[in-house]
C-alpha cells in the first residue's frame, strides 16, 4: 500500500505536491483564526461527466473580515457549451473576459485555497465538479474540509420548526431569510461573497446559543 502510494506520488506535478504539503502537520486553530474560502462555480450544466466549469469565484476570510483584493475570479476556456444555462451566467462562449485553461485554473485555485476550510452553498455539487476537473488532469481529490451553508442553515433553525426542516434551501432563500442583499447574483465571485456573508450570519446565530465547536460545524 505504502509503496504503491509512493510510486504514484512521483508522477504528480509540483503544484499538486505543494498543495498536499499544506495538509501536513495540520493543527486545529480556533474558529476565529481559521482561514475560510467561500467559493462558487458556474457550470455549463448539472451533469458531472458531461458539463464543465465556466468560472470560479472565491473570497477568503479570517474571522469576520473579507479583503476585496484577496478575492479570486477565474474564467475558463471551454469548448462545451450548453445554451440552456447561458442565460443565467451570461458568460457567453465568446465573451471577452480574459480566460485561462483548465490546468492553469487548477494551479491558481489550489495555490489560493491552500488548506483553508471551503464553504459553498450545496457544496457537494461544487466539490464534485472540482474533483471531476482534477481527475481529468490526473490529479487526486480536494483534501480540504467542506462546509455546506444549506446544511448549516438548517441547524441554525429553532427547534420548534425542526419538523418542517426537510425543505431544500436555495441561496436566494437564505439571502431572503438572513437579509443579505442579492447584488451580483450569478457572477463568479459575487455568489462567493454572498455565500461568505450568509455563512458568517449563520455562524453568529449558532454562536448565540452555544460555544461553537469544530465537530458541530463540520459534522454531517
Amino acid at each position: 500500500m505504502i509503496s504503491w502510494f509512493k510510486k504514484r506520488k512521483k508522477d504528480y506535478p509540483d503544484f499538486w505536491l505543494a498543495y498536499l504539503n499544506h495538509f501536513k502537520n495540520e493543527k486545529k486553530t480556533p474558529i476565529g483564526e481559521t482561514r475560510f474560502v467561500a467559493f462558487d462555480t458556474e457550470t455549463t450544466g448539472f451533469d458531472r461527466k458531461k458539463d464543465r466549469i465556466l468560472s470560479i469565484g472565491a473570497v477568503a476570510f479570517v474571522n469576520k473580515t473579507i479583503p476585496v483584493n484577496q478575492s479570486l475570479e477565474l474564467y475558463l476556456e471551454q469548448d462545451i457549451f450548453n445554451p440552456d444555462t447561458v442565460k443565467i451566467h451570461e458568460i457567453m462562449k465568446s465573451s471577452d473576459f480574459e480566460k485561462i485553461t483548465e490546468l492553469e485554473a487548477i494551479k491558481v485555485f489550489l495555490d489560493y485555497i491552500k488548506n483553508a476550510i471551503l464553504v459553498a452553498h450545496h457544496a457537494n455539487f461544487d466539490k464534485t465538479m472540482m474533483n471531476e476537473m482534477l481527475s481529468r488532469h490526473g490529479l487526486g481529490k480536494l483534501k480540504n474540509k467542506f462546509i455546506d451553508t444549506g446544511v448549516l442553515f438548517n441547524k441554525s433553525k429553532h427547534k420548534i420548526y425542526q419538523e418542517s426542516l426537510k425543505k431544500h434551501y436555495f441561496l436566494d432563500d437564505l439571502c431572503e431569510e438572513l437579509n443579505v442583499p442579492k447584488v451580483d447574483r450569478h457572477t463568479a465571485n459575487g455568489d462567493a461573497l454572498i455565500t461568505a456573508i450568509v455563512f458568517l450570519k449563520i455562524l453568529s446565530r449558532l454562536d448565540k446559543r452555544k460555544n461553537l465547536k469544530w465537530g458541530y460545524l463540520l459534522g454531517k
Partner: protein, 638 residues
C-alpha cells in the same frame, strides 16, 4: 484581473459623498483595497484611546453607533447607517480614537485604507473641502456638506446637555409654504395634509414674508373675524423672525423666548431678504433637547422614515432611565413605555400599508404577543407578534394571505431596524404559521387547548398573552371567546400550564444561596428572567385564564385583580404583584447599565442590600407555586 466584487463596492460608494466626487476609475482603485467586515450586534470596531487603524469605515448595511462614556453611561453622539462614513477624524488628526464605535445591529461595513484614499484624492480640492466641513460640523453624515464652522475641533463635552445645547439645531428642511396670493382655505388644507401647525408665506423670490399658525386660524377665522376665503396676507404674522442655518439649539431657544414665538425661519443669509431654506420650530428644539413623552409620541406619529422612528424610540430609553433614577412608580413607567412601543408598532404598520400596492383586502388585527402583549416590556426585546385577518372565501384565501404576509414582512423589518430584534423562534406575523384568518386562529387555539403537548405549552406562554395593537379588535374578541369556551371543556390544559409554571424551582438553593447558571456563556450569572420573573408571569396567566378574565394582560395587574377576586388570598397576590414590579425594575436597571436585556445578573456586582431585596422577592414565588400545585392538583402530574 477582473474583480466583480470591487466593481460592485465601487458602485455602492459612488452613491455617497465624498465618493460621488471621485471618478469611476479612481474609485475602482479604492474599492479594490477595501475589506468587507461583517459585524454582529454589539461587536466593537474601535474604542476610545485605541491607536487609530490604517483605515476608515463606511456602513454598507445596518447601523453603527459612536459614543463616549460618561461615568457608567454611554452617551451616543451619532448612529451611522447605510452610506455614512466614520472613524476618519482620528486618522487625519493623527490622534487615538476619542469615541467608541459599536455595531448597533447586525451590520456589514467597508474598511477603506486611508493611504489609498489619500493617494487617489490628493489633488481633489472638492474632497478636501468636504472632509473639512464634515469635521467642523462634527458630523460625517452625508448631505450636510453645506454646514460650515470651525475646522478640526475635537470637542468632547463634559455632559450630555452640553452636547445637545451647542449642537447645530436640527431644523426642518424644505418647509411647507404657500404663496402670497393663496387663500386661507387652501393654506389650511395644505397644513392638514402635512399634519403641521404652521405654514410660511413666501413671495415670488421665495423670501419669507409671513407665517400662519394654528392659533392664527383659531383667533382670526374661527371667531368670525375674517372669512375663510380671505387672503393669507390678511391674517399672517409679519415680519417673520429669521436666523442663519448654523444656529445652535440654545440660540434658537433664546430667540424664541425673546420674541415669544414658536417658529424661526431659517434663511440663506439669516435675514428676511434672502431665500427661505427651513423652519426651526419649538417642537424641533424640544425634540433635540429632550426627553418628554409627549414629544416622543408626537415624533413617532409623524415619523415618515424608519430612521426617525428609531431615533424616537431610542429617546424613550433615555426617558426610562431618568424615570427609574427619579423613582417614579414602575406601574406608571410600564404604561408609558408600552404606549410608546404600541405607537411605534402602529406607525410601522401605517407606513407598511402605505408601501403596499393596494389597501388591505379585508380588515385585520395586529397582535403583540409575549411581554409586549402583556404590556410590560421596558427595554428592547425580541419582537413577538401575529396577525389575524377576517375570514375570506376559499378562492380568495391565498391571495389574501400573501398580501398580509408581505405586509407583515415590511412591519417586522421596520421594527427590527427600530431596535426590536427578530424573534429567534420566528414567532412573527411574517411567518405563514402566525399569519392566519380568524377561523384558522380559532382552530389553532382549540387544538392547543384540547391537545396540549410540550410544543403547545411552549407556544402558549407566548400566544395566550396577546394584545390587539392595531386594527379590528372585534377579531381578537372572537378569538378570546373561543378560548374561554374551549377552556371550559378542557381541564387537562390547566394541568399542563400549571406544570410549566412550577417547573422552575424557587431561585434559592437548599442553603439559601442563589441558583446560578452552570454552563454556557452565562456561567456563574443569575438568570433573573427565567428564575424569578417568568414563574410569576406564568402563574398569573394560568390563574387569570382559569378565572376567565378578559383584557387584563399585565402581570402585576393580573395579581391585583386576583387579590380582588379572592380576598382570602389577597396578601399573597399583592406580594406577588409587588415582587413582579420590583424584579422588573431590577432587571431594567441592570439592562440599562449593561446595554442589554438585563436578563443575566452578575451577583458579584450587587451590594449586600440589593441581594437582600432580591431574596425578599423570591418568597412569594415559592408560595404561589404551592397554590398552583394544590389548586390544579399537580402533585402527581409533575
Amino acid at each position: 484581473m477582473k474583480n466583480s466584487i470591487a466593481e460592485r463596492v465601487g458602485e455602492f460608494l459612488k452613491r455617497y459623498p465624498p465618493f460621488n466626487l471621485i471618478n469611476t476609475a479612481s474609485l475602482l482603485l479604492i474599492a479594490e483595497q477595501v475589506s468587507i467586515i461583517y459585524l454582529e450586534k454589539g461587536d466593537t470596531i474601535f474604542k476610545n484611546g485605541d491607536i487609530n487603524h490604517d483605515c476608515f469605515y463606511v456602513v454598507r448595511d445596518g447601523a453603527v453607533s459612536l459614543y463616549y462614556k460618561n461615568g457608567d453611561v454611554n452617551e451616543i453622539t451619532n448612529i451611522h447607517d447605510t452610506g455614512d462614513l466614520f472613524g476618519l477624524r482620528a486618522l487625519i488628526a493623527k490622534t487615538p480614537y476619542h469615541l467608541n464605535a459599536t455595531a448597533n445591529e447586525e451590520s456589514i461595513i467597508y474598511a477603506i485604507p486611508i493611504s489609498i484614499f489619500q493617494t487617489v484624492t490628493d489633488k481633489s480640492v472638492n474632497i478636501q473641502k468636504y472632509l473639512i466641513t464634515a469635521f467642523a460640523s462634527n458630523d460625517y453624515t452625508p448631505y450636510t456638506s453645506e454646514q460650515a464652522g470651525k475646522i478640526f475641533v475635537d470637542y468632547i463635552p463634559s455632559n450630555s446637555q452640553d452636547v445637545v445645547s451647542f449642537q447645530t439645531a436640527n431644523y426642518t428642511k424644505a418647509p411647507i409654504t404657500c404663496s402670497t396670493s393663496s387663500t386661507l382655505k387652501s393654506a389650511a388644507k395644505k397644513m392638514c395634509t402635512h399634519k403641521i401647525g404652521c405654514i410660511i408665506v413666501i413671495d415670488s423670490n421665495k423670501k419669507p414674508v409671513g407665517i400662519i399658525t394654528n392659533s392664527d386660524i383659531k383667533n382670526k377665522i374661527a371667531t368670525g373675524l375674517f372669512p375663510i376665503e380671505t387672503k393669507v396676507t390678511q391674517i399672517m404674522s409679519s415680519p417673520v423672525i429669521t436666523a442663519k442655518k448654523d444656529l445652535t439649539v440654545a440660540d434658537g431657544q433664546l430667540q424664541m423666548i425673546k420674541n415669544s414665538i414658536g417658529h424661526l425661519c431659517i434663511t440663506k443669509d439669516g435675514t428676511v431678504n434672502s431665500k427661505l431654506i427651513g423652519v426651526l420650530t419649538h417642537h424641533d428644539v424640544l425634540t433635540t433637547l429632550g426627553n418628554n413623552p409627549t414629544v416622543i409620541l408626537k415624533d413617532i406619529k409623524r415619523a415618515k422614515r424608519t430612521k426617525k422612528l428609531r431615533a424616537a424610540r431610542h429617546k424613550a430609553n433615555g426617558l426610562l432611565k431618568s424615570y427609574l433614577d427619579q423613582n417614579i412608580p414602575l406601574s406608571h413607567i410600564i404604561k408609558l413605555i408600552s404606549q410608546i412601543n404600541d405607537a411605534v408598532t402602529v406607525r410601522a404598520i401605517e407606513l407598511a400599508v402605505l408601501k403596499m400596492p393596494t389597501a388591505p383586502p379585508v380588515s385585520f388585527t395586529w397582535l403583540a404577543l409575549g411581554s409586549q402583549g402583556r404590556r410590560e416590556q421596558l427595554l428592547f426585546t425580541d419582537q413577538d407578534n401575529a396577525l389575524i385577518f377576517e375570514n375570506v372565501s376559499k378562492k380568495g384565501y391565498s391571495e389574501t394571505k400573501d398580501y398580509f404576509l408581505e405586509l407583515s414582512k415590511l412591519v417586522n423589518k421596520t421594527l427590527n431596524k427600530v431596535g426590536f430584534e427578530y424573534c429567534e423562534a420566528d414567532m412573527m406575523a411574517s411567518n405563514p404559521e402566525w399569519c392566519k384568518s380568524l377561523s384558522e386562529w380559532q382552530d389553532q387555539f382549540q387544538t392547543w387547548i384540547l391537545n396540549p403537548d410540550e410544543k403547545a405549552i411552549l407556544l402558549s406562554s407566548v400566544f395566550f398573552d396577546f394584545n390587539a395593537v392595531y386594527g379590528n379588535s372585534n377579531l381578537t374578541d372572537k378569538v378570546t371567546d373561543t378560548i374561554f369556551k374551549t377552556l371550559n371543556e378542557a381541564s387537562l390544559f390547566y394541568k399542563f400550564l400549571g406544570r410549566d409554571a412550577v417547573k422552575s424551582p424557587s431561585p434559592l438553593g437548599f442553603f439559601k444561596q442563589f441558583l446560578i447558571e452552570q454552563n454556557g456563556d452565562q456561567k456563574e450569572l443569575f438568570n433573573i428572567k427565567s428564575r424569578a420573573i417568568m414563574p410569576l408571569v406564568d402563574a398569573a396567566r394560568l390563574l387569570i385564564l382559569n378565572k376567565q378574565i378578559k383584557g387584563v394582560n399585565n402581570t402585576y395587574e393580573r395579581f391585583e385583580k386576583l387579590a380582588e377576586l379572592e380576598p382570602e388570598n389577597s396578601e399573597l397576590y399583592e406580594s406577588c404583584s409587588y415582587a413582579f414590579k420590583a424584579l422588573s425594575k431590577f432587571k431594567t436597571k441592570q439592562g440599562l447599565l449593561n446595554g442589554n436585556s438585563g436578563k443575566f445578573i452578575n451577583l458579584k456586582t450587587l451590594t449586600k442590600e440589593e441581594k437582600l431585596k432580591l431574596r425578599r422577592c423570591f418568597k412569594p414565588i415559592h408560595e404561589i407555586q404551592e397554590v398552583l400545585i394544590n389548586r390544579f392538583d399537580l402533585k402527581n402530574f409533575i
